[in-house]
């Protein structure tokens, strides 16, 4: 029977061409949308890796002209001590501009045994950073005061970077970097979704702020108690603005930053989903119309098949299967294009994401075709052979 249907479809290839190309394009659109959705969902399922509640972000401009790095360090140490002394403050850390839940990014290469790994987020932070954000150490330890006197620069990496570069190897104590700048890994920290709930954590390496980089710092992260309110925020603001003269200061809450960064991820996703929903409805209606018309055009054929021994059910299933075979052809071509994405690594997504999206869109197309062919198929089954055969 299948061979028979293949022949029928092949001989009608000219008529079926448009129908197939429509299914193909629908598949590609669905594949794109599902890839995005699966990617977002996979990231969404992963733990955040840090605690953003009750963490405030202070943006300040480095107004004071202290040119000596060590003096500047002292200057900030004093400020931090004063802030830490406030009862509502649990801990405070300076940070480079790429603070969590903002769009700001700093990426560098990571050198190990002469091989460079690109797109590694590099963060420059204080010893208290881990405590402020309550990150999880997996191996080794976070920075502390003793690191100030070591010869090699200590760094902490996250588990994504560890997996990418070292796999299952033991990494604590390893020396990395080129001859000019040797660094030692002292710890591995769990992945943190710094770009919001829906983005991957990416690879990251952390290092301590030193007396040269402190000139470029412009952010502070402060962990406060749960009951710290606007009155305290006002006082904190006055303290910082009064201490760093000639500076523009702004305080934001990470909890709000998370909302807005998620919003930026979600809005395009929602718009895309709505648009593709309508596209699919559009395609479904069109498919339904064409199939329905085809049934009417083939009444004679259907009547004949009934006369020579096909049951109503087999006529209906023939039509559904015919459409499914058409869909299969489109899907094979579509899948060929789709697998190029993981093969050529077009976007930086894992193969699993593509494969899940591929399977989902194949299932979706089959369901769509099934639904669209079902009613016309039932109509065909209801055709009365005695009538259909005498119409012409």
């Amino acid at each position: 029977m299948y061979r028979h249907l293949f022949k029928l479809i092949w001989n009608k290839r000219k008529q079926n061409f448009l129908l197939m190309s429509e299914m193909l394009v629908s598949f590609l659109v669905l594949f794109a949308v599902f890839t995005l959705l699966v990617y977002y969902y996979q990231n969404y399922k992963k733990p955040m890796g840090f605690e953003y509640k009750n963490v405030w972000l202070v943006n300040y401009s480095n107004g004071d002209k202290i040119h000596n790095g060590d003096s500047l360090k002292l200057f900030y140490e004093t400020l931090k001590r004063e802030i830490r002394a406030m009862p509502e403050v649990k801990d405070i850390s300076l940070s480079s501009s790429n603070v969590p839940l903002t769009q700001s990014m700093i990426q560098n290469g990571f050198f190990y045994k002469g091989k460079e790994t690109n797109n590694v987020n590099t963060y420059q932070v204080d010893d208290s950073y881990e405590n402020v954000l309550q990150m999880k150490m997996l191996e080794g330890r976070w920075f502390n005061k003793t690191d100030a006197v070591t010869n090699t620069v200590p760094i902490v990496i996250n588990s994504s970077l560890k997996e990418e570069v070292f796999g299952k190897e033991q990494v604590v104590g390893k020396i990395i970097g080129d001859d000019k700048a040797k660094k030692q890994i002292i710890g591995v920290v769990a992945d943190t979704k710094f770009k919001g709930d829906y983005e991957a954590s990416g690879m990251a390496s952390f290092s301590r702020i030193d007396s040269s980089s402190i000139h470029w710092m412009g952010k502070m992260l402060i962990r406060v108690t749960a009951d710290a309110g606007p009155a305290f925020e006002g006082r904190l603001y006055k303290k910082i603005a009064g201490y760093i003269e000639n500076s523009n200061v702004e305080i934001e809450h990470l909890i709000n930053k998370r909302k807005s960064i998620n919003y930026f991820a979600l809005v395009p996703m929602i718009v895309l989903s709505i648009v593709s929903c309508f596209l699919i409805i559009n395609v479904a209606l069109g498919l339904f119309g064409v199939l329905w018309y085809n049934i009417n055009r083939r009444r004679g054929e259907i009547g004949l098949r009934r006369a020579i021994g096909a049951t109503g059910r087999s006529v209906a299933s023939q039509l559904v299967i015919e459409t499914m075979i058409l869909a299969t052809f489109s899907l094979i071509i579509g899948a060929f294009f789709a697998v190029q994405f993981p093969l050529l690594n077009v976007f930086d997504l894992s193969t699993g994401v593509y494969m899940t999206a591929l399977v989902l869109s194949i299932i979706f197309i089959y369901l769509l075709v099934l639904v669209c062919a079902f009613y016309p198929g039932r109509q065909a089954a209801a055709i009365y052979p005695a009538v259909a055969l005498h119409e012409e």
Partner: protein
């Protein structure tokens, strides 16, 4: 072979009731070649449809062979038609998107056969109607007479005991018509196939064993 008893067929629409067949009783013997004649709209096609189990009578009983057909399900009917009956139509009803051989194989698809068997049986049937050199053609590439011969091959490929032909020569000129008629007569003589044929053509009807005339749904001869 076919026994019709007190067949009545009523078509109902919202406003009118039409009596298409009025208490028809008819016996067709095994190996008989019967023709049915009558003016347009006299109910001959309806009668043929009822014999072919494509349509159910409003009243009365149809027996084919020793099988009562009244309470058969859609599936059983389909199976029965497939095994016992072959159909030929005035407008051939070939599937234009399939080649001649595939068209002839069609009835075999609805029973358990292998592709090889199907091909063999279909080729044999086409030989019988003298079209073995046309098996790769599409129906649209054939003349009317050739198309009807393909339809006959399709009707006989499943070796049915009965062939029902609805004006098989109606769309053909007289030479081609005679050719088709000759094939049917041979089938009846050689293979002992029972044939019931509806026709307009007195000449064709005269070549058959028996003639039944219908007028306004009733048997007049």
């Amino acid at each position: 072979m076919i026994r019709l008893q007190n067949i009545e067929k009523v078509y109902r629409t919202d406003t009118i009731e039409t009596l298409a067949l009025n208490s028809i009783s008819l016996d067709v013997d095994k190996g008989e070649f019967l023709s049915i004649m009558g003016p347009s709209g006299c109910g001959k096609s309806t009668l043929l449809n009822i014999m072919g189990l494509l349509d159910a009578p409003s009243k009365g009983d149809v027996r084919i062979g020793d099988q009562a057909t009244l309470n058969l399900s859609d599936k059983q009917l389909a199976h029965f038609r497939n095994k016992k009956l072959g159909f030929i139509f005035q407008s051939y009803h070939l599937i234009n998107d399939l080649q001649v051989l595939d068209n002839v194989e069609l009835p075999l698809l609805y029973r358990n056969t292998t592709a090889k068997e199907r091909k063999q049986l279909a080729t044999e049937a086409l030989e019988k109607v003298g079209l073995s050199n046309r098996i790769k053609h599409f129906p649209t590439q054939l003349s009317g007479g050739q198309r009807q011969r393909v339809a006959i091959a399709r009707a006989i490929v499943g070796r049915p005991e009965i062939i029902l032909a609805d004006e098989p020569t109606g769309n053909l000129d007289s030479a081609m018509g005679s050719e088709i008629m000759e094939i049917l007569i041979q089938l009846n003589k050689v293979d002992k196939t029972t044939i019931v044929m509806v026709t307009h053509d007195e000449n064709m009807a005269n070549k058959t064993h028996r003639l039944v005339r219908l007028f306004d749904g009733a048997q007049v001869q």
